[in-house]
């Protein structure tokens, strides 16, 4: 039987820091449970992490200059000055985007290393994957993806789901990522002047991925109605200042969704629709299933999924209640460690084990990419796969070996691996791992073996 202390720091954590397992001995469930009452530990702030309004203003300025320079270059093609202006405008914009990404990735990773509430950070990673966006889709996304997680995910992981849903759906990052920028209803003021059509992408993913689930009982007509509710909402990330809700892109009027007619107007309409979607039983079920699958395994006990669903509906979508139901369920603590630790979590766990307090953002970014999990770069709006064996193919495992070698060689020189193994796992240290570490030919190899040991790979 797997010691619960080990389960607490792996299945419900981001891997042990030295001493963690000894400290929580006796009450591993309580250790995880108590974290649910410290929602603020999900928050990240910092002087180099501006809010999305500031980012938008900066972007509008940079993009405006860029657009102007491009226009004048087009007009005066062979002009040296025009070319220089264009190149420096492009450089300035792209550099700003790169700097924001480096700051965001660095801060997120450092927070993962430092936090004493790693379960809360796991909830952040889970919800960020539920509301997946892609950092590399466009220049805009390079600017706002980090802010999206800080503003629309982190404040709500232990709050009500409806608040997270409202925050994510209307955030510049989501509106841009799922193509709601430029979604203009045919029957809007602008649409009547020039040929337009709504873009269905955000509406569809809102229903299919974020709320009801693919089997949630909605139709193509519902998708189109939701797309009309959303039309006009935009990121404002363009060359000109623009309000977050463009009235002239929106066709005002009642919309019928899942049999209910919404007679509210504009901003009140989207609020009402999102509130109802958040409370729908199909949403409760969809989210409960995903949560159980994420923490327990591909085939979670149906009773656990039922309990989570019940808790969701009884509390009106209170994610702390749902999370507590998960943590306090025996089923969530039993069973083997079947789920592969995803690459980003693994990179965090390696740093925690080595007592690092930061790594160069570029190293973190490239390492995650090499291990096949680009940070904020999932393969689709459905996020990263979450099945038990995801990310763990033969070649992927060899990449992990190469990563552990690089990280311990470059950043872990002062560590004694034998002592560290004992501090990390205490009595839960597998004797074969202890032996392999002790017999390694050098420190670096010992660290590779320790960080590659099963407790770091599956949870």
């Amino acid at each position: 039987m797997r010691p619960r202390e080990l389960t607490a720091v792996t299945r419900f954590g981001l891997g042990p820091k030295p001493g963690d397992i000894a400290a929580l001995a006796g009450d591993p469930v309580g250790y995880v449970r108590e974290q649910c009452f410290r929602p603020n530990s999900a928050l990240i702030t910092g002087p180099d992490l501006p809010d999305s309004d500031t980012i938008r203003n900066d972007f509008v300025r940079l993009q405006g200059t860029f657009r102007e320079a491009r226009l004048s270059l087009k007009k005066r093609g062979s002009d040296e000055d025009a070319r220089d202006d264009f190149q420096s405008a492009a450089k300035e914009r792209n550099l700003a985007g790169r700097n924001i990404q480096a700051a965001e990735i660095g801060a997120r990773y450092a927070h993962g290393l430092a936090t004493d509430d790693p379960f809360v950070e796991r909830l952040v990673l889970f919800w960020a994957n539920h509301f997946a966006v892609h950092r590399l889709k466009s220049p805009v996304m390079r600017f706002v993806t980090g802010a999206f997680e800080r503003e629309a995910i982190r404040p709500y992981v232990l709050a009500n789901f409806s608040d997270m849903l409202a925050a994510t759906t209307t955030h510049p990052a989501m509106l841009h990522y799922l193509d709601n920028d430029g979604s203009v209803a045919a029957d809007s003021a602008l649409g009547r002047r020039r040929k337009s059509r709504v873009n269905e992408n955000l509406a569809r993913e809102l229903l299919e991925l974020h709320t009801l689930g693919v089997d949630g009982g909605y139709t193509q007509a519902d998708v189109i109605a939701v797309a009309h509710v959303l039309a006009g909402w935009n990121s404002g990330m363009s060359a000109k200042k623009r309000s977050a809700f463009q009235k002239t892109w929106h066709a005002f009027g009642p919309r019928t969704i899942l049999g209910k007619t919404y007679r509210e107007s504009g901003k009140r309409q989207i609020k009402a629709v999102l509130a109802d979607l958040a409370q729908a039983p199909a949403t409760a079920r969809h989210i409960s299933r995903k949560l159980a699958r994420h923490f327990v395994g591909d085939n979670p006990p149906p009773a656990l999924v039922d309990a989570l669903t019940k808790s969701y509906l009884a509390s009106g979508g209170d994610l702390r209640e749902v999370t507590l139901t998960l943590v306090e369920s025996d089923a969530a603590w039993s069973g083997d460690a079947v789920k592969a630790v995803p690459p980003y979590d693994f990179i965090v766990a390696a740093g925690r084990a080595m007592r690092l307090n930061k790594l160069p953002p570029h190293f973190v970014m490239v390492s995650a990419r090499d291990l096949a999990q680009e940070i904020w770069g999932p393969p689709s709006p459905a996020g990263w796969p979450d099945d038990d064996g995801a990310f763990l193919g033969g070649d992927a495992l060899l990449e992990r070996v190469d990563f552990t070698r690089a990280v311990s060689q470059r950043f872990g020189r002062d560590v004694d691996p034998r002592q560290l193994a004992r501090q990390l796992f205490g009595d839960a240290l597998d004797p074969f791992v202890a032996e392999a570490v002790a017999r390694a030919e050098d420190r670096n190899q010992a660290m590779v073996l320790l960080l590659m040991s099963p407790a770091f790979q599956r949870r």
Binding site: L178, D179, D181, G182, S183, V184, K195, S196, R197, V198, N199, E200, N201, R204, E208, V214, Q220, V366, S367, R369, D370, L371, A372, P379, S380, A382, D387, G389, A390, F391, L392, G393, G394, D395, A396, L397, L398, E399, V401, D402, F403, T404, R405, A406, D430, F432, V433, A436, A440, E441, D442, Q445, V448, L449, M452, S453, P454, Q457, R458
Partner: protein
């Protein structure tokens, strides 16, 4: 510190994990051909009428407006026949078509009729009519049904993915490969790790062993990278295409060997063109260009084996026939599929063309489905890989006895 002798030799002897490492090299199977099959899944739903444009359809130009295919100028595509034109971002495919080594099936469709990518891809890969089935895929079941000592089953399957894709689940011997860029740990470290896993976690031991065996077949990452660079002959391979091109090169290298895998899998994202799809210079054109480069790399790496190869390029569904307000297209129904390779009887577009008139569209918005993709795949599996038709209609594609395979896709 002193140098250790390489342990590669030791590993080779000790880790008889994948079959092709242990089976003595024997002459290829009797018969004129030792077939190779590569399945390329395009994720996100390829817009079939932008890749292979039905310029002969009287409604096409009006539906696509300024994004109809140009009929003159530098971007004019390749005329496939008097009805269809191939997108000019697919020059390798065009060259293959000219040699009779590329064939298109238009208005092709899977049995899936909703519009979710994820369910659509599951149906495309699992070979059933329902997305619920995740246990195994049609190619995995096909391989599993062969006797263990047959050429195809004993040589295993190759997947460029971080874990076994649904398409190949069910086959017992799938190795996965994903190119990346960190310097490799020593063979000694790897051997010790393997030994540790054997004592602590047999699942991880099996995964690691398969990775080590695979590397022997494909060569190390730097070798693959050199081949990519050489194979491209100075052609610029953009950053976002590097992974698919490396994967295609590795697949080709492995599958070209006498004792290499006979069946391969690649996939590629970027086809969900809701915005800025355009036709040649937008997201779709760029993604098609990456696909084309990867196909060129695959062909080059396969070398002479190309003549015994069929590459099936498939996608979960198509896109709306009209452009949306963002110069893109939304989720649709029928699309185009491609068969490429020296074994393909190509130079043709096969289409039971439904037409683009308003009343011919599926639900008033999509290209109507007319040719079942499973008929195409059955035809290739039967005539190229030598599968019997009976089990193709039950085990591989359940309940499809009435879906007749397309005849004559493969050179005899």
């Amino acid at each position: 510190m002193f140098e250790h002798p390489t342990r590669r030799g030791v590993l080779t002897g000790a880790l008889a994990f994948t079959a092709w490492a242990t089976i003595p090299k024997i002459a290829v199977a009797a018969g004129p051909r030792d077939p190779r099959l590569v399945v390329v899944v395009l994720r996100g739903a390829l817009d079939g009428i932008a890749a292979v444009a039905p310029v002969g359809d009287p409604h096409y130009a009006a539906l696509r407006e300024e994004f109809a295919f140009p009929t003159s100028g530098p971007d004019v595509g390749t005329r496939l026949d008097d009805f269809f034109v191939l997108n000019s971002r697919l020059p390798t495919v065009a060259e293959l078509y000219g040699k009779g080594e590329a064939l298109f099936v238009h208005a092709a469709h899977s049995p899936y009729r909703e519009r979710s990518h994820f369910d659509g891809q599951d149906v495309l890969e699992n070979g059933t009519t329902s997305p619920i089935h995740h246990r195994d895929g049609w190619l995995g079941r096909a391989i599993a049904m062969l006797p263990g000592d047959s050429t195809i089953a004993s040589h295993g399957a190759f997947a460029a993915a971080s874990s076994t894709p649904l398409l190949m689940r069910g086959a017992s011997n799938v190795v996965t490969y994903l190119p990346a860029g960190l310097p490799a740990a020593s063979d000694d470290t790897r051997a010790r790790l393997l030994s540790m896993y054997e004592h602590t976690d047999p699942v991880l031991a099996g995964i690691l062993a398969s990775g080590l065996e695979l590397e022997k077949v494909t060569g190390s990452e730097s070798e693959v990278q050199m081949e990519v660079d050489a194979g491209m002959m100075g052609m610029e391979v953009g950053g976002r295409d590097r992974q698919i091109v490396s994967a295609a090169t590795a697949a080709g290298r492995a599958m070209a060997l006498d004792d290499g895998p006979r069946v391969g899998f690649l996939d590629m994202v970027g086809f969900d063109t809701h915005r800025g799809q355009r036709v040649i210079d937008g997201q779709l054109g760029n993604t098609l260009s990456g696909l084309d480069t990867a196909l060129l790399a695959l062909r080059n790496a396969l070398g002479d084996t190309w003549r015994d190869t069929v590459v099936a390029v498939i996608t979960e569904f198509g896109r709306t026939v009209r452009m949306n307000g963002s110069w893109g297209t939304d989720h649709g129904t029928a699309t185009v599929a491609m068969l490429l390779g020296g074994a393909v009887k190509g130079g043709r577009v096969i289409a039971d063309w439904p037409g683009l008139a308003e009343n011919a569209l599926y639900e008033g918005r999509d290209l109507a489905p007319t040719t079942d993709l499973r008929a195409v795949l059955k035809g290739a599996l039967r005539d190229h890989m030598g599968f019997d038709l009976g089990p193709l209609g039950t085990t591989v594609f359940p309940d499809t006895a009435d879906v007749r395979p397309l005849d004559g896709l493969i050179r005899s």
